[in-house]
Each structure stands twice: as structure tokens, then as C-alpha cells.
Symmetry: C2
Subunit: 138 residues, 2 copies
DNA sequence: TTCACTGCAAAAAGTTTGCACTGAG
DNA sequence: CTCAGTGCAAACTTTTTGCAGTGAA
């Protein structure tokens, strides 16, 4: 975790207990929580924390590159910033990850076609998760 | 345009002047307007139209499959429902399209990896558009 | 000591809803 | 004639902001 705290300081941010708590939660949760979910969870071990601090902190952590924001509504966050992409269940909103090594090639193709300089991508697939598919058949 | 109107009726929806006006705008605009932009534009030729009618209509057109909603914040809409994907400029929010025939293969790969049944995808790349790139250098 | 951060409350931004009236079919 | 659609206003959800007090460095 020290690595993350150093990253904050390097960018000129202070290491407050609130940030530490939120960062710790983000590092340990396997899911893709919303700000609301982060708030609810973190409130258990840090009862006085406010909603806006959660929002501000998530934005700060994102700026430093420690977490990533997924553009759903509401936004979702994850501390796994490595190369992977998401599938979202249209029925239960469960999110799973998948990997795809050739994404870099697609990105180059996009730059060639559009003349944009690509900095980030959000590749989302939507469908029915295994659980919902089996329920569907019943 | 008759094709679109028939699609509405086929789904049991009535063809009102409001829907006709919005559909006509969506068909002719080359961009990816927000609900607000659709409202502002359509209001010029249909001054009495309300914001909620625009929202309701966009949702209806989407349900019938005549338009597609892009999950940005705010949502954006386009009548081009054919196979293409988007690049968004991080600086000016300009949206451009790109095509990529092997998307189907990636979708199959995703289904294999996750065991989801994929129904839709939203592939978005983010970066700097040609215009903003040249301004950046100055 | 200092100024970035917190907590609170209020506002903003985007979207949805309830309801009485209207007009498409 | 009937009921889906409209316009209006109000509610709701998600996110942002202003500000006085607090505590990390």
C-alpha cells in the first residue's frame, strides 16, 4: 500500500485517514463499486466520513492513476488499472472482466482512421451473465 | 423516412408531429447530439415541444431500434445504427466514428472468456482530436 | 504554522414521473 | 370515441461546489 501513498505525495496530495481508508477498500474489493457503495462500506469503519469526501477522494485517486472510473450510470470504480475490459450483465448489472492482448493493434488502427491521439479506451460489452442466462431458461 | 414511420407503427406507437420532427432531425444531423441539443434544435421548428417529450421520444425511438444511445454523460444519440464505433475528444468532446470489421471475432472471444451471451457493445476510445492536437502544440 | 482536506448543506446537471388535456388512429 | 402522447411542473438521482473549521506536513 506504501506504493500508493507515495504516488499521492508525489502528486502533491496529502495522505489523510479518509484517503487511506478508501484506498484500502478499493484495493481489497474484487468488484466495481459505485461511489455510493464505497461510501456505505467505508462508513462502517469510518462513521464520520461524508459523501463529498468520497467523491473528491475517488476523483483524486483517479487523477493520480491509482483507480479507474467506468463510465456507467452511476459511475463505477476499480483499483485494477491493468489491461482488461468489461462485460456488464443487462439483467443484474454484474460486471466481469476479460483480457484481450490485441487491443493495442485496434488502438493503432483507430488512430490511423481518425487521426486522433488515443489516451484511453473504454471497451464495454453488454449481455446476459451465466447466472441470468440459466434463470432465463426456466 | 416512411420506413421509420412504419417501424414505429409496427411496434404499436403513434406517429405524432413531435416524433416526426425529432426523427427528421436525427436522420439529417451528422453529429451525436445530446437530448438538450435535440431539444434546442427541434424547438426552432416546433416551439411548443417540451423537454420531457424529447426524452420520451428518444427513448421510444431507441426501443424501436431507430436510434442508438451512447452512454456518455449526458447521453448522446445517433440515427446511424450500423456497425461503427466512436472516438471522443477529451478536450472538446468532439465524436468521430471508426469502423472495424473484426469486432464480431472479439465478441466471440469475450463470450468464450466470460460465458456471457453478448447483446450489445459500446466501444469507445478517448483522446485528442486532430484539431485539439494542433492547438496543443502552439 | 499553513494551506489542502473534511464535513455539511446547498446547488447543479441530467433524467424520470404524475397528471390533466389533446389529438392520432 | 379512445387511449397513447403531450406539456408542464415537480421529483429524483448522481455529481459538484462553497465555505468555515480541522489537521497533515
Amino acid at each position: 500500500m506504501d506504493e500508493e501513498f507515495r504516488a499521492l505525495r508525489r502528486h502533491g496530495y496529502r495522505l489523510t485517514p479518509q484517503r487511506e481508508t478508501i484506498m484500502k477498500f478499493m484495493k481489497t474489493t474484487p468488484g466495481h463499486p459505485t461511489a455510493e457503495e464505497v461510501f456505505s462500506y467505508v462508513k462502517q469503519s469510518f462513521p464520520s466520513i461524508s459523501f463529498s469526501t468520497v467523491y473528491n477522494t475517488l476523483r483524486t485517486l483517479k487523477k493520480v492513476g491509482l483507480i479507474r472510473e467506468l463510465a456507467y450510470n452511476p459511475s463505477r470504480f476499480e483499483s485494477n488499472v491493468g489491461d482488461h475490459y468489461h462485460v456488464v450483465c443487462l439483467n443484474c448489472n454484474h460486471i466481469a472482466n476479460f483480457i484481450w492482448p490485441s487491443m493495442k493493434e485496434l488502438q493503432e488502427e483507430v488512430e490511423k482512421q481518425t487521426n486522433f491521439r488515443i489516451a484511453a479506451q473504454d471497451v464495454g460489452f453488454f449481455g446476459l451473465c451465466p447466472g441470468c442466462r440459466s434463470k432465463e431458461k426456466e
